[in-house]
Symmetry: D2
Subunit: 341 residues, 4 copies
């Protein structure tokens, strides 16, 4: 069936499979101590303009969020996120499983405001009972957000200033980072992000890899014996090469950016098509996820022919659905969609 | 200094100390296997009208909430609470420490609405992605609430119907239960509460004991080997007698109710006094906690003479403070307060 | 460099990569809801002779052990393992991270004895203080063990009888199960294992896959909402196909067994070679891991030319090392080893 | 019934009850911010000869062990203990509940040897795979041990040297510290212990208090925002005065030492009596716990008249039982015991 359900419904970019094939017989050390992992780390540090960064590969997004957050928070701290943040809603309580609270603040099309973040932290310290409350010990945001929206450089800088002032790390969830960086509507580069955050990750699973996320610790702040904490949480792959080879490929000849750009171009075409057909957008998204409001019966009819993602109900009669393009979306798929709509 | 700061600023009711003294030389088994603990359990079951109930004594409120919730939730579940619920704000993230999320719904003067609770659960199951989200596995409410307000029998019955329909336990935090039961403005009896909840606790720390809360499992639903889970969480006292003797005293000759009633009478006098003096109330509370809005400078002046509880800021110029009476409040204290105001 | 370091130092079996390539463009649902995952599950159930079994794919061994154990144990329970069990020594405390203790009993060349297991459990219940101790709530064993040894059918049956008598699940860690099943020295079949255990897993990572372990719940005992618990622990891959396609390939035309057999044949040749060269064996292993005692200087010399696995020190002068063959070991590698030795 | 079952089978020392009574009407701040708690801390610091120490009161032993250990360990660390250490056997897995492993080394009449401790840590770092194993991050010992035995100054100094060399804290569980300090057979003073450990606690529950343990951080090493971590684990009492007043009393006019000495004198009499009657001792204990080997039928007969503590079975015919004296044991009780024996 035709699918715009998500950006992980196909396998991997052909060059990744090719690289896995080519390196398959090479004997390599396990647990990420192989040469491809090292090379991939080097290339990512260069792309970030941060020779001193520390890079670590993990298998999936929820795992990455949980491991990064729970190893960086102190015992008495929680992580602040927009109420729609992925960790707050859609990760089955994995932050809580690690013993920490997600402290939520309002969202605006998926984004947090620096001003509201600052007010939240200020109010916390102004509260005379705060020693009995969970301390804000980290800020989490996703870029693109769960709604496909993007922070501007000014917005991210403002948030960065707050976290810097309160000396707590800023963590950017980049599960779809490529799609954010290659949007027409962004003034944030990878180097900006590396500079403005304390830790972030470059998503692979949704951007052409079979699996894998590249965590970048930007301030020599990787937790001590991180590999041990990763294993303790079940996140250490024996064949670390699987992640190393993939990211080494993605960061060779700008493949990561190129395929991300493709998804954006496809998203623009999709947007035009949906607009042309008169669909109502739930919000304006500059990346690969597009949110459309459908009457419930329209949704039921459409989903028989195109796989879409349920987002949320609006009252009893309408449903918000998500159309996603990806590195693998083809013109042919868009044409078939046009016919169906 | 004169204090209306809280309901735990004095020791224990004299009869409790007397009982501790009287039983002091008696050799007793440890860990709650003593005769006073057994007698106390029996008396509580009778007061609840529930001969089949299981009663267990713990030392404090946060501990009780954490132990009850974390032993009753399944792995994939969280607990639903009003956003102002004590577990959600003022317990340092102890539910999260146990690996579970607190799922928040709106509050109305500290109370949740059955309709909003039901909508929350319904929406959860209507969400096509709910298998990746934290399941609502229990409902937590406090009675009196953190704002001193009370559920009516109709309201609690409506919430009970929701939890019954979804087959999840309803847990009532009764840290100040006595003050709720003895309010003039309630139609809920202890037996009603025992009938309408799956588990609740009768607070001792704030109602005349040195420490101690009596958990009542109303449906033969005490978790298996509960004593083990209590010890695992550090909550088992070697001298279980300390809790047993206290609750045995509190539930002899209706002492618990009598001293709770005293606090209510004192609260009524306090309310009259505050009204007479022209203070603005933050909300109407029928129990022992009274919330008043003060100008910040007034607050600063007043707190030099009377210990009060900071509640929250309203903008930059006003502060909500709490006056609390208790089983130990004296007429003399009210008179001194009148002089100061 | 020549390597007998472990059984995960090369990529995947060519047929697996081929299948990944072939299915790469197929649009599939995420999170294990795809047709290849379903097909793989079906094939595994057939291979186990258990049409009613439930099969679930996870990415790695530590993750699998942690998820299975922590979702099946009750709050007051721990898991019993031989002191050399992988969960007890080499998984960075991941079972403890999940809140449960590993209760250790003696090992005999890596194996536990049914008699000692039974005595341990009996003693636990005979201890009058056992309500304050961690209850034995599951038994964990690895087959092959960490020392390459194998349980006989009689031994596994005896252990099964103990766990059945005490109504606790028996969990078999089959990270290298293929190598155990294809050994010349075993009378245990896959069907026997499915019958004698409550849950076990069929290792992929060490037997030809890029990553992946197939957990088999044999008694309709998969924990409710297991996918949620998996996600909560960071173990859910968005592209579940990665695991599904691999296991579908491994269980087509007996590939899993065939490549396991290859490793055993290579191990037999290796053993002969080592014996011929006069090496002293630490113990007699019938599977793909061979343990040899080397003088420390010999070890230092050898490791410059052949990658080996450090196992343990014996006093100050000797070291136990592990040689491992795998599905990917070649005759040429054995020849090169012979030259070096 | 006559009882030598344990040292917590009576209430509190009369002076403690008297002090609770005397301070009962005094209005005090909650959560340990009261003047009695401050005074108690000051007296304990003086008794320890450590003006810079930080003292914190908790309610019980398991709670104290769990809170101290889990707040001081780093993510990748576990705590080393003798295999008979209380945390390893009799605390329902509470250290594991906090996410950390108890790493066990051999015991010798309840004690660990510095040499075996050092070997254990050395071996850990010598193991080439140790990055995948739980790091030894703290050493736990009890003094007196679970068998009533005591470390000599030389032994404790040797252990201290090991922990100092590896820069990990040494934690001494002093649940029965008074009985150790007042033994005839010790050369360790309270000041020695304060000097040789990084953190330890002075037990109250078993030495005359209703409940309560005084944790002493000796090196300005109390974890940041400790009160928050305590609350998070359910260990914060609203009426901190209950602990403060008790310890203030115990450390006034050497009461703690005086009542501990009484228990030792009673133990010496008990020992003489048991020897006279021909009982076989399981080991030689210089403190208030005495372990005796009884034939099973003898045990069954005796326990009908005297409450004793089951310790362990020896084969099928004998049982080790514990007789304990305490601050509250009377000469009359010893006389009654003599009659019975």
């Amino acid at each position: 069936m035709l699918s715009f359900e998500n950006d992980y419904n196909k396998g991997a970019h052909p060059k990744i499979l090719e690289a896995l094939l080519k390196t398959n017989d090479t004997v390599l050390s396990g647990y990420g101590e192989d040469q491809f992992t090292k090379s991939a780390k080097q290339k990512i540090k260069e792309a970030c303009g941060l020779p001193e960064a520390e890079v670590y590969f993990l298998a999936g997004g929820t795992q990455t969020n949980m491991i990064v957050i729970s190893t960086m928070l102190r015992d008495y701290e929680g992580v602040v996120a927009a109420v729609t943040g992925h960790i707050s809603q859609h990760e089955a309580g994995s932050i809580e499983y690690s013993g920490h609270e997600v402290l939520t603040i309002p969202e605006h099309q998926g984004k947090m405001l620096a001003s509201e973040l600052e007010a939240f932290i200020k109010d916390f310290y102004a509260d005379e009972n705060h020693e009995h409350m969970v301390f804000p010990g980290m800020v989490y945001l996703s870029h693109p957000t769960e709604y496909g929206t993007l922070y501007t450089k000014e917005e991210l800088t403002a948030i960065h200033k707050v976290t810097e002032a309160y000396e707590i790390p800023l963590f950017l969830d980049g599960a779809r980072l490529g799609y954010g960086l290659m949007s027409d509507d962004t003034d944030l580069t990878l180097k900006d992000i590396a500079e403005l955050t304390d830790v972030f990750y470059i998503g692979g699973t949704k951007v052409g890899a079979l699996c894998g996320e590249a965590v970048v610790f930007t301030k020599k702040n990787m937790p001590a014996h991180f590999v041990n904490s990763v294993k303790k949480r079940g996140g250490l792959l024996a064949k670390g090469r699987v992640l190393g080879v993939q990211f080494d490929t993605l960061f060779t000849d700008d493949l990561y950016f190129e395929i991300s750009r493709h998804a954006i171009l496809m998203a623009e075409k999709l947007k035009d098509l949906l607009k042309k057909k008169g669909y109502r957008f739930f919000l304006e998204s500059p990346t690969n996820q597009q949110f459309v409001i459908l009457k419930n019966d329209e949704y039921e009819r459409l989903r028989k022919e195109v796989a879409l993602s349920f987002w949320e109900k609006i009252g009893d009669t309408e449903t918000v659905v998500r159309f996603a393009t990806s590195w693998a979306t083809t013109d042919e798929e868009l044409e078939r969609l046009e016919e169906i709509l």
